[in-house]
Amino acid sequence: MYNFNRLSELIELAKKEQLSIVDIIIGREQELTNKSRGEIRAKMAKALTVMRESVEIGLSEDIKSTSGLSGGDAKLLIEAQKKGATVTGTLLSSAIAKAIAVAEVNAAMGRIVAVPTAGSCGILPGALLAVAEAKDLDDEAIIDGLFVASGIGLIIAKQATVSGAEGGCQAECGSAAAMAAGAIVYMLEGKEEQVLDAVAIALKNVLGLVCDPVAGLVEVPCIKRNAGGATNSLMAAELALAGIKSHIPADEVIIAMKKIGQALAPQLKETSLGGLAVTPTGCKLKDEILSK
């Protein structure tokens, strides 16, 4: 039985079985679905293909969302990068551009992989593909990273929530950043404990982040929060790989996130009745969109 409910259980199980955490995560899925290891890896490879396609579309095509609120920002970033006008350097700049590209494709009714949700769909492809390019990692390494991310997300979904309506943006973009952070540490051959530190650090940074979309749409501020999430994941991975530990263990951070989500007022959980959604400009944008 390869089932696990906590991150500490996942790494203990891997140690006991003398397997990698990827093997444990795949093993659990095999038990659940009766599918072969090959079929499960192929399905993850398909997800990676869709992620790449959405990055490519977002960076090359003229994107405009149905509401007209978003589109075109990923291209601005790539143009700036080409001119050498980047503040953060190649890797982070590329991760941000890719994250925004996917989130813009999502807002424009393009095809994406919801990881873990549609609202946070840019963070994993942005961060993982940028790292893979910079470090010259092959697809098998990225797919391993996606399995690690899936295991982390599964535990967060079981112990807390990945839904903005239940836990605020910390549960969506926070979970996505934690998943990406752990995946990056694994892809760069960090230790299992460092994977957990990266998860903890990324999630701690956004505890309390509210879900306050303007006009109820997955655009403002969601798209830029995908860039924030990708950045957060890279920072957390860098800290963890340097050997910096999280004082609060990842499993406890996940429970803290759940409790904070429960304590958040309903106005701040995807109802568009609080936060940025009710700023003067947020209200004006809503009126403009609804009167179209």
Binding site: T66, S67, A108, M109, A118
Partner: protein, 223 residues
């Protein structure tokens, strides 16, 4: 929660922007198409709650039409659903509605088939792309269609359910959940039967052979 797949986390692959307002709406359309089970060319779509407020920005309107035309949640053509509807001669109308005690993301569909019969369906998108069919023609079915699901309309007489169960038993299908509903005693009843294994066409044919079964449809699993 314990049987959550990793592909619920890395996935679904879907057309954006929202799992509840877009992917869920496509799935409601897909299910309605299966429930109708024959050609239709006219539909009235009533939107309640959050669907009513944000349907255009979330593409819920295109998603529901795409779903009714049989497009799956990951098909980029959903964006062009209105054009496709025109080409296929499907007429549609979007209307606001207030339904009592309904989930914020609820749709009522009034679908007229080519014989002129109107079928009414109320469904909700309950999060992450999961949906539930609350009512069909006023009968509270509560179908999620996550599993292979059969929907019957049969005469309300003793022994009919036993005859249907016998067919399932003959094909070694395990019933995971069953609900029998009726409007008036002794008239017509509806059964919702969810099974663990795949349901093949042959099984449907066998159930159709039961004379008291007026209609049987396979509506799940939705993907």
């Amino acid at each position: 929660m314990s049987n959550l797949s990793i592909f619920d986390i890395i996935g679904p692959v879907m057309v954006g922007p929202s799992s509840s307002h877009t992917a869920g709406a496509v799935r409601i359309g897909n299910l309605a198409r299966k429930i109708i089970g024959e050609e239709f060319n006219q539909v009235k779509i009533y939107l309640h709650g959050s669907f009513k407020e944000t349907y255009q920005g979330h593409g819920t309107d295109k998603a529901i039409i795409g779903g009714l035309l049989g497009l799956k949640t990951d098909n980029p053509i959903i964006k062009e659903a209105f054009t496709l509807a025109k080409a296929r001669g499907l007429k549609y109308e979007f209307l606001p509605i207030d339904l009592d005690n309904a989930h914020p993301n609820t749709i009522k569909l009034e679908i007229e088939n080519i014989k002129g019969k109107v079928i009414s369906i109320i469904a909700s998108s309950i999060g992450g792309g999961s949906v539930v069919i609350n009512e069909i023609d006023g009968i509270k079915v509560g179908v999620t269609a996550e599993l292979p699901t059969l929907l019957t309309i049969h005469q309300d007489k003793p022994g009919i359910i036993a005859k249907i169960s016998k067919v399932l038993e003959d094909y070694k299908l395990n019933i995971a959940y069953m609900k029998v509903l009726r409007e008036y005693k002794g008239s017509l009843a509806t059964a919702v039967i969810e099974v663990d294994e795949e349901i093949e066409g042959e099984i449907i044919d066998k159930i159709k052979e039961i004379t008291e079964v007026e209609e049987i449809k396979l509506i799940g699993p939705i993907n």
